[in-house]
């Protein structure tokens, strides 16, 4: 075992031997085992009971299975060639193709199974599907990472895959899936829930910025205040969300009783008010911490130089400190947004609405696909916010 200080050299020296894309190979193997293990989809007599697993070949037929196997083999074959930039792109492209093929197969499987089953029967996505799809998605990511693709290329690939999936969905390819049928039966409320979720997030993150940034500046300027500010914010962040929601019920319902005008505006022990207040409190720590970190991370010599050139304190703040601290602040914003999207799910428990309604509603009815109808868009929202804000921070760093 070589533990030298030059890992790059060690890796390069193995260029003499076989140097496949071990990750892509491992992912293909994982996907193949998951599909071969059966349970690509599951068939249940109705939406409230759990189904029995059905293998890919039994559900979608031999040709679809063979097509998936062929793409998988091609991916493994490419992954085993010598490492070149083109190989990494080829891995990403084939993996994207495999991902779409897995989705197509799921649609076919659902349609064929549903065609031979009673109308109340439901076809859900099984462990085999999820693992195969996740493996393919990770292989796309791995290929792009190895090719050192920029954010723009990553965005294009992501958008292309999303467009393909959207086209398939719009074309009715997934209509036989239980998830799509849950969507169809909740179509009216889905839009409201989604908007509500985004509104909860925006309505919490924006005030958190307005309060948290000044707190961060204060913490950076007054070392005495720093300890107290972060001790309190850290304490708040430790409290489990549902407990904080619960603790807010009493003061807010008291407030609503005392001031009926506020109650008419929707302030009360349950509903959006405690949710938004709690989400703001949670969001304060990352915002304030990153503001302080961004400001104190600036080289003192830069500020000195600005002062030496005759800038006023106000000019130094706006023209020097703010632009330099902004990337760190945006990084904090990313953490806050992703965190708030997740916590807003829990807010459904105190009647704040949002996508959490589907998650907990589904749990209550034991309807997995209804849980998915809430969970999948939440995860997507979080991933998109994560990507966009990461890209923004990277662009600001330049």
């Amino acid at each position: 075992m070589t533990l030298s200080g030059a890992p790059a050299r060690c890796r390069a020296s193995s260029a003499f031997g076989w140097n496949p894309d071990r990750i892509a190979l491992a992912l293909v193997a994982v996907g193949a085992i998951a599909v071969a293990g059966g349970g690509f989809v599951s068939l249940a007599p109705n939406r409230l009971v759990s189904g029995r697993p059905v293998a890919l070949w039994a559900a979608a037929g031999i040709p679809a299975t063979a097509a998936l196997a062929l793409i998988g083999l091609a991916l493994a074959g490419i992954a085993a060639t010598p490492p070149r930039r083109m190989r990494h792109y080829a891995v990403a492209a084939l993996a994207a193709l495999l991902l779409i093929a897995v989705l197509l197969a799921a649609g076919t499987a659902a349609r064929d199974l549903a065609a031979g089953a009673p109308p109340l029967a439901r076809v859900s996505l099984g462990a085999g599907f999820w693992i195969a799809a996740a493996a393919a998605a990770l292989a796309v990511l791995d290929g792009l990472q190895r090719a050192d693709a920029g954010n723009f290329v990553r965005f294009l690939v992501g958008a292309a895959i999303a467009a393909a999936i959207a086209a398939m969905a719009a074309g009715g390819w997934f209509d036989a899936l239980s998830l799509a049928r849950e969507y169809a039966s909740h179509r009216a409320v889905f839009g409201t829930a989604l908007t509500r979720h985004v509104a909860l997030v925006a309505g919490s993150v924006l005030p958190a910025i307005l309060i948290g940034v000044p707190l961060g500046i204060l913490a950076c300027r007054r070392k005495r205040a720093e300890g107290a500010i972060f001790a309190v914010l850290n304490l708040l962040q430790t409290i489990p969300s549902i407990a904080l929601f619960g603790l807010l019920i009493v003061p807010l319902s008291a407030l609503a009783v005392a001031a009926p005008a506020l109650a008419r505006l929707g302030v009360g022990g349950i509903g959006a008010a405690p949710a938004v207040i709690a989400l703001i409190l949670y969001a304060l720590l990352p915002v304030a911490r990153n503001t302080a970190a961004g400001l104190s991370g600036i080289e003192p010599t830069i500020v000195d130089a600005a002062r030496g050139m005759g800038m006023t304190e106000r000019q130094i703040f706006w023209r020097v400190e703010v632009p330099l601290a902004l990337p760190v602040l945006v990084a904090g914003l990313r953490i806050v947004t992703v965190q708030t999207i997740g916590l807003a799910v829990v807010a459904a428990l105190i009647g704040a609405g949002g996508l959490g309604d589907f998650v907990f509603g589904g749990l209550g009815q034991d309807a997995t696909d209804l849980v998915l109808l809430g969970a999948l868009p939440t995860i997507l929202l979080a991933l998109v916010a994560d990507f966009l804000l990461k890209a923004a921070a990277a662009a600001l760093r330049r």
């Binding site: 533990l3 904080l244 929601f245």
Partner: protein, 249 residues
Amino acid sequence: MPRPLRLAASPLWWTAVLFVALLLAMPHTGALFHAAFPAAKPPVYARASFVELFLSQAGIVATASATASALGIAVAVFVTRPAGRDFRAIADALATIGQTFPPAAVLALAVPALGFGPRPTVVALFLYGLLPIVENAIAGLETVPGAVREAAAGMGMTGWQVLARVELPLAAPVILAGIRVSVTIGIGTATIGSTVGALTLGTPIFDGLAGNKVPLVLQGAILVALFAIVTDMAFARLERRLRPPGAAR
């Protein structure tokens, strides 16, 4: 300061005493809650003792976090060795992407696979808890300076000796910070776990929310908040103690 005095001055100690006192005293506060919320019946959660609820929740979190710590550190060690270096980027990406998943969604999705009861909660906490541990353990192991590793190898330490005597002790505070995040999230998610049948201090909260009984919500919320705060403070203290005395941080 002599030891008893130091204990008396420690906020961790006081908070822990307060927590245990409330845990034991809560069943006897019926009169108080009845006076504040005359409509609520019963005024105090009575289906299980609060100690029982606490022990059950602590057991769930401890099981999940201990397993996640062991596996998470093992994964980080593997991807920072030459043999596993290929998998480092993907482990890191997986840990980062995974953490964008809402914990509540992970919990909800574990139910169909495992049914109601404590099991989906333990599994969801384990899976979710892995992510910050893997992320921090990789970061911690990579902060060990190359010169230190090279010197250790150059003096004839075997790979295991370098890991056990040099890398892990130096990475310990960062790894522990990951475990702390994981446990904090775990306590919060386990509380929600009572919606899927786990017995936790969250159970009175949900009973109270469902039946519009505010006292029950308050009792659960206060105890859970204190539980989380005491645990976090204990970790903060452990982190300070583990920080290598030689590290100029």
